[in-house]
């Protein structure tokens, strides 16, 4: 019974990590769109290239934050959570 409980726990952690990584799709698409629009802006006003590039880099870095949160949560779920959960279960069982 204990083995089944640990198995379900590990399965839940792995599934949770996988679902968390879905959030990594959005920033990639958003960055692609942002760069395309920045190119249009530079095409219209070539003299503002430096300002547009600077804002674009900062915007892309900010857009990546959600992906980074997802990555960290997935890492915690894979590397740290199983050990802690198993410890909690073992203590509860005694």
């Amino acid at each position: 019974m204990l083995e089944i409980a640990i198995g379900i726990m590990l399965c839940g952690c792995a599934l949770g990590a996988g679902i968390a990584m879905i959030a990594g799709i959005g920033p990639g698409i958003g960055e692609g769109n942002a760069v395309a629009k920045a190119c249009e802006a530079i095409g219209r006003q070539p003299e503002s290239k430096s300002a547009v590039t600077s804002t674009l880099i900062m915007g892309c870095a900010l857009a990546e934050t959600t992906g980074l949160y997802a990555l960290v949560i997935a890492l915690l779920l894979i590397l740290l959570a199983p050990g802690r959960f198993v410890d909690v279960l073992m203590n509860a069982v005694g």
């Binding site: 990639g28 590039t53 880099i57 892309c60 900010l62 980074l68």
Partner: protein
């Protein structure tokens, strides 16, 4: 040596300075709490440097993507994002997997560049408000 865009270098320099300041602050907090040891320093150095490298690679990718066709741009950015995520995953995995790195000191520096960007946005917004107020006074 390969020439990089001056904007990318300037922004990376700003982010590196901000990461260094926040890292020092974090080390100080650990010292005050009495939980500082060499693992905190190692974890901070590991992911602090990787977060700066990630930002620099993002800047290089953006400047490179601007020279590509509109169709290739999106896929180029997505590919870069995937590779950079894998890099962070590997480094953070090493940091969390080995006991010689403090877990908290490994995770926190990954978000320092974003904190720096938010702080810069706030600073710019405040300076805009001040300059608008000054213009109104002059009128």
């Amino acid at each position: 040596m390969k020439k990089f865009d001056p904007t990318v270098i300037a922004e990376t320099r700003y982010i590196a300075a901000f990461v260094a300041v926040l890292s020092l602050l974090m080390e100080g907090v650990f010292l005050v709490l009495g939980k500082w040891d060499y693992t905190v320093l190692l974890g901070n150095l590991l992911t602090g440097s990787v977060s700066i490298l990630n930002f620099f690679l993002l800047g290089v990718t953006v400047t490179k993507a601007m020279t590509k066709d509109e169709k290739d741009m999106g896929s180029f950015m997505k590919l870069s994002k995937t590779y950079r995520s894998l890099m962070i995953l590997a480094v953070a995995g090493i940091g969390l997997g080995f006991k010689c790195f403090n877990d908290v000191a490994v995770i926190l520096p990954l978000f320092f560049p974003q904190v720096g960007i938010y702080a810069r946005g706030l600073k710019l917004r405040n300076s805009n408000v001040v300059s608008e107020g000054g213009e109104q006074d002059a009128v």
